[in-house]
Amino acid sequence: MESDRDDGVSRRKVLECMTWAGTGVLWTISGGVPHSLGIMGEAQAEESKSLTFLQLSDSHVGFDKPANPNALGTLEEAIVKVNALPKKPAFAIHTGDISHLSLESQFDDADRIISQSHLDVHYVPGEHDFLDPDQKFYKDRYGRGTKGAGWYSFDASGVHFIGLVNVFNLKAGGLGDLGADQIEWLEDDVKHLSASTPIVVFAHIPLWTIYPDWGWGTDDAAQALSYLKRFGSVTVLNGHIHQVMQKVEGNVTFHTARSTAFPQPAPGQGPSPGPMKVPDDQLRTMLGIANVTFKQNEQRLAIIDTPLKA
């Protein structure tokens, strides 16, 4: 059982953190592990009072290579899927690589399709969103009111959401990078929160080291996460690797979402982390969206990864 893990949060500690600040309802994550259901039907079982939000990632609008000649089309299919959800999410987060080459036209196309969800979308940038020469299109369009290269936080239904940027001013030989300014801001941002406040951190590149040979990690993530250690429930949502992966470390659950554009190989299972060409009838089984639900009273946080095609 996860609750017996030596490196996990003790049962007592979990219970201490079960009070959902501000609402008085019970809060926990099942044995420390967000439940991954994998089929959309089970989402219908959620309770009416729970908070559900959507995660979109790696739209790569403008990508037209053999791995998926029409990335805008599959983004549109994803939004159709969103609009068919039995319960409308409260809002969406987008974990970066909105565009493929940071062209205005690509951001325009992405916005036109994503707006069809009629959801408020909270963005963080991917490295593909900072490719315009002055690196200003992203910030102008999505980062108004944010700090630095685009980091910020907000609260929803008692959950504290933190959007981080780890794709700016990257250093030779390095991985993703948050930088001292952002980490200092993070320390200050969470300083006054109660340890029972559920935390959701979202950023493009994984904040856990998955495969450094392919750049799948963030150099200074450990320092940033050290400021979240005292919280009873921390969920870290990332993109970048175009596949679902999950890890639990103590009270922190890490989860990566599928892309809506093209799949990438499992770590080390290909010549490079580049777009992976799969048979046409398999493509949509490897693209998708994630639906995250904080289920009150059910003592469970659920992340439901839904492919475009089962």
């Binding site: 290579k65 053999p66 791995a67 493929h100 080459l101 940071s102 490295e127 593909h128 490719l131 020469p133 990257l170 250093k171 030779a172 030989g173 390095g174 991985l175 450094p212 040979d213 392919w214 750049g215 010549p271 490079s272 982390p273 580049g274 777009p275």
Partner: protein, 129 residues
């Protein structure tokens, strides 16, 4: 002259058969080709710079060409040259290295990708440095 019959034949054909032996030598022997800038090439394939380290003479123009289905960008690790724009598939970026030294560079989109250009002094005896 050390020009083989095969090369001579080809060059004569290329030169429409009207060139003298002296002119042919000017074409095939680099040390005499004063109007042709030396060039070096780095291919970007599978998120890797090939060759990872390239040694050239000062004055050489190095061209990086992206063969991947994903964009890459060239930036000097210590800002010795202005970074390239994002290179989409088959796009190229060139920079002429005039000063001897060791230049480390990386892909600013995927910074784990690194490479080196070693620039040596143009060899002695040439008119231009």
């Amino acid at each position: 002259m050390a020009i083989s019959n095969t090369v001579r034949s080809a060059l004569i054909a290329a030169a429409l058969g009207a060139a003298t032996a002296t002119m042919l030598a000017a074409v095939v022997i680099p040390t005499s080709a004063q109007n042709v800038a030396p060039a070096g090439a780095v291919s970007i394939d599978n998120f890797t710079f090939t060759p990872a380290s390239l040694t050239v003479k000062a004055g050489t123009t190095v061209t990086w060409t992206n063969k991947d289905d994903i964009p890459h960008g060239i930036a000097a690790a210590n800002n010795e040259f202005k970074k390239s724009r994002a290179l989409d598939t088959d796009d190229s970026f060139s920079f002429t290295f005039t000063t001897p030294g060791t230049y480390k560079y990386f892909c600013y989109i995927h910074p784990h990708m690194v490479g080196t250009i070693v620039v040596e002094a143009a060899s002695g005896g040439n008119a231009t440095q």
